[in-house]
């Protein structure tokens, strides 16, 4: 079987790409997708570590992450749509009312 380190390295790479996208992109939707990317990388680590440790609780934890991610997407996309209806933009740089 494939060593668990390979899975962990893949998950780390996915998380890194997601974090970079979060820092580099300005489109709120794409930033949101990068969050999903990072959540998926964490799911992969939980499954891999759970298997390596002969423990099913890792898979249970993945379910809770999925639920939280679904709730987060629902509220986050609703906020993005509300912002768009008010400002006609999806760029996070345009939202600077709170600047001191």
């Amino acid at each position: 079987m494939v060593p668990v380190g390979w899975y962990m390295a893949l998950a780390a790479a996915l998380f890194l790409i997601g974090a970079l996208g979060m820092l580099l992109r300005r489109n709120a939707l794409v930033m949101f997708m990068c969050i999903e990317l990072m959540l998926n990388a964490v799911n992969l680590t939980l499954i891999s570590a759970g298997r390596a440790m002969n423990d099913l609780n890792g898979q249970v934890a993945v379910f809770f992450i999925l639920v939280v991610a679904a709730a987060e997407v629902v509220v986050g996309l609703a906020i993005i749509v509300a912002i768009f209806r008010r400002r006609a933009t999806a760029s996070v740089d345009e939202l600077s009312e709170l600047r001191g």
Binding site: M1, L23, F32, L56, L66
Partner: protein
């Protein structure tokens, strides 16, 4: 050509697909391409879950993520419009440069630690994987879910209700008259 070989081939294919999808998410100019790239990554992670004896997680991943969440994403992309070009003007050039240098240093350190050979990915890993104990069938996953984790499970029900109600409230936003 044994079991090990099969898992290696599947891992390589799924890993390449996952990384390609992730890079597409970040680099694509059109959010639709980003969404499709994310879909590829989600499917690849689901494949890797199946390989690692987590079929229920993989099924839920495809149904919830690739089904519901991605549909929602695509709806919002269509609603907001994809023809708007992203601004490439840097509002914080110096801060970004320093963050980039810091991130590069951290990445180099992590890669060096991983490649040195003395890094242990999972310190508490068992010497041999028990195929029966880690097989995530519906029964096997449901047992801890409804015993040890039942409080968290009930809390997720509450969380989903609150999220749905919050989305409805946000959708009813009305512009006040100036």
């Amino acid at each position: 050509m044994g079991k090990r070989m099969v898992e290696t081939v599947i891992f390589v294919v799924a890993a390449v697909a996952a990384l390609a999808g992730a890079v597409t998410v970040v680099l694509a100019r059109n959010p639709i391409y980003s969404a499709v790239g994310l879909l590829g990554t989600l499917f690849s992670v689901a494949t890797l879950s199946v390989v690692q004896l987590a079929p229920l997680v993989a099924a839920v991943q495809v149904i919830v993520y690739a089904g519901a969440v991605m549909t929602l994403f695509l709806f919002v992309i269509m609603l907001i419009g994809v023809d708007k070009e992203e601004t490439r003007v840097e509002p914080l050039p110096r801060q970004r440069m320093w963050v980039g240098i810091l991130a590069g240093a951290v990445i180099l350190f992590a890669a060096g630690a991983a490649l040195s050979g003395e890094f242990v990915w999972v310190p508490a890993a068992a010497t041999a994987i028990d195929q029966d104990a880690t097989n995530g069938t519906i029964q096997a996953v449901a047992e801890p879910l409804f015993t040890d984790w039942v409080l968290a499970f009930e809390a997720t029900a509450l969380l989903l209700t609150i999220a749905a109600a919050g989305a409805v409230v946000l959708a009813q936003f009305k512009r006040k008259r100036a």
